[in-house]
């Protein structure tokens, strides 16, 4: 999960590999706040996979690439 100066830099870094998904920094920041803002709450509870998938959907990260798999339902993201 990296940042790049521009599309040109991303393409050079990929060096012919299949790209993953690219988003704006605004979307990333929105995602981070939606996913992690409860992380230090004293009454924290693990997110369900449905909860986390709904966060992705809400910030516009939809489609097969963003479908969560086993293990994304508990404590973590990435």
């Amino acid at each position: 999960m990296n940042l790049f100066r521009s599309e040109e830099h991303l393409e050079r870094w990929l060096a012919g590999r299949e790209p993953g998904a690219t988003t704006s920094v605004e979307t990333l920041c929105e995602l981070a706040h939606a996913w992690y803002s409860d992380r230090l709450d004293s009454d924290w509870r693990p997110h369900t996979i449905e909860h986390n998938q709904a966060i992705l959907d809400r910030v516009g990260l939809t489609g097969p690439f963003w479908r969560l798999g086993p293990g994304a339902d508990l404590g973590g993201a990435a």
């Binding site: 990296n2 790049f4 100066r5 870094w13 993953g20 990333l28 924290w44 690439f65 293990g71």
Partner: protein, 147 residues
């Protein structure tokens, strides 16, 4: 992850953020009056539940997402305190978890040039960079350190 494991998890986060100390097995054993074996098992359960990430070859905490417990290429300053995170996402997430503005520094993965971003009122000030995720979401936890 039962209620007792959640209390251990909360203790680990609280101690890391408030006291800036990464807990070890003995710290958990002492705090919760557990044997070393029981405390080690609790850390492994939390790792398996993705509530934290242990080092591959040692029973030591590497990540309390979004924080990195070890130095990394992602640095975040919030309110005069400095943190390491694990990736671009986690860098913004440090600001989110602490409910704070912040300053993020890392480098372009291609050219290595310094990238600096500020977060103000939950929004990025600089918006001309791109965020790229190579690994599909369903595979993130196959190798979280690589992800």
């Amino acid at each position: 992850m039962d209620e007792h494991d959640i209390r251990i998890r909360n203790f680990l986060y609280r101690r890391f953020v408030e006291a800036r100390q990464t807990s070890r097995v003995d710290d958990v054993a002492r705090e919760f009056e557990l044997t070393h074996t029981a405390a080690a098992a609790a850390l492994r359960r939390l790792h398996d539940a993705h509530a934290l990430v242990l080092e591959r070859d040692a029973l030591e905490i590497r990540m309390l997402n979004p924080f990195s417990c070890v130095p990394s290429a992602w640095r975040v300053e919030t309110g005069g305190r400095n943190w390491y995170s694990n990736c671009a996402w986690d860098s913004f997430a440090v600001c989110a978890a602490l409910d704070s503005d912040g300053h993020i520094e890392s480098s372009c993965a291609d050219c290595g040039e310094l990238l600096a971003l500020d977060v103000r009122d939950r929004k990025p000030v600089q918006t001309d960079y791109l965020f790229h995720v190579l690994v599909p979401a369903r595979q993130w936890w196959d190798d979280i350190v690589f992800t």
